[in-house]
Amino acid sequence: MTEWELIELLKLKDNGAFKIIVDTWQDMVYNTVLGILQNEEDAEDVSQEVFIQVYESIKSFKGDSKFSTWIYRIAVSKSLDHLRKKKRKKRFAFIQSLFGKDEELIHDPPDFFHPGIVLENKENAAVLFKAIAALPQNQNIAFVLNKVEGLTYQQISEVMELSESAVDSLLQRGKKKLIENLENYYRYNK
């Protein structure tokens, strides 16, 4: 079955087509979302939300871009929404704690160990992912899509709706900032 046939069937709410779509793109979605969120439980949850969105808004997919690009866009925007919600929740919990409410403060998450990294590199990888998470939002997304998901500059430009030169500049600045972050970390954690 071709991609277009699957899309047409999904527009008719065909569950078999939906299952094939999920099975085909679940790794891509999960890996991208995990790279951005750096939390396996959240990544599972948001990946599910991505496919629910695909199922519900497939009729709005007109084929102007590749289907995978469209799914990547949903994955990125859902991940960013999740991060925003988490930040808001954290801020709210902090304010409540100031007013003496008996709410537990949401602490910074523990070190993230990416499941796709060999055991011997785990510690350095945790430092690296912390530094990636500290990048400005656009640089972070471009970095994850390029380095974790392995997309080309052209694919990233389609997902982020930017020119290729803008993506190149984002990645250059991202790498520079990442090196700065790592320098600072290693300087204070000798």
Partner: protein, 109 residues
């Protein structure tokens, strides 16, 4: 300024990105997704009843009803005379305005 050791450490850390493998979700991802989608398609009445039976909502509702009742009773206690007066006026007016044959025949109770 970066020392040689520091620089090689950073390069070593950055090189991890070249070896990172794609992460995959736990097995049976589709099954969990389908279960979640079925759950969200619950009957709207089930969701409504689940909402109103939440303790915070239920107790607030009961409290509100009690307050409205107390206020209504209090307002009624304060204004009985006016109500009686206006009732009497209306009765009088209706008696005078009796227009059908039955009313003329049965003026006395």
């Amino acid at each position: 300024m970066q020392s040689k050791v520091e620089s090689s450490r950073i390069e070593n850390t950055l090189s991890i990105l070249d070896k990172v493998q794609r992460a995959t979700p736990q097995p049976f991802f589709y099954t969990r997704l389908a279960a979640r989608m079925n759950k969200s398609q619950q009957n709207i009445w089930e969701l409504f009843s689940a909402y109103i039976t939440r303790p915070s909502i239920a107790f607030s509702g009961i409290f509100l009803i009690v307050i409205i009742n107390i206020m209504a009773a209090w307002l009624n206690l304060k204004t009985p005379v006016i109500a009686e007066e206006s009732e009497a006026a209306v009765t009088e007016e209706y008696t005078q305005l009796a227009t059908n044959f039955y009313d003329f025949e049965n003026i006395k109770p």
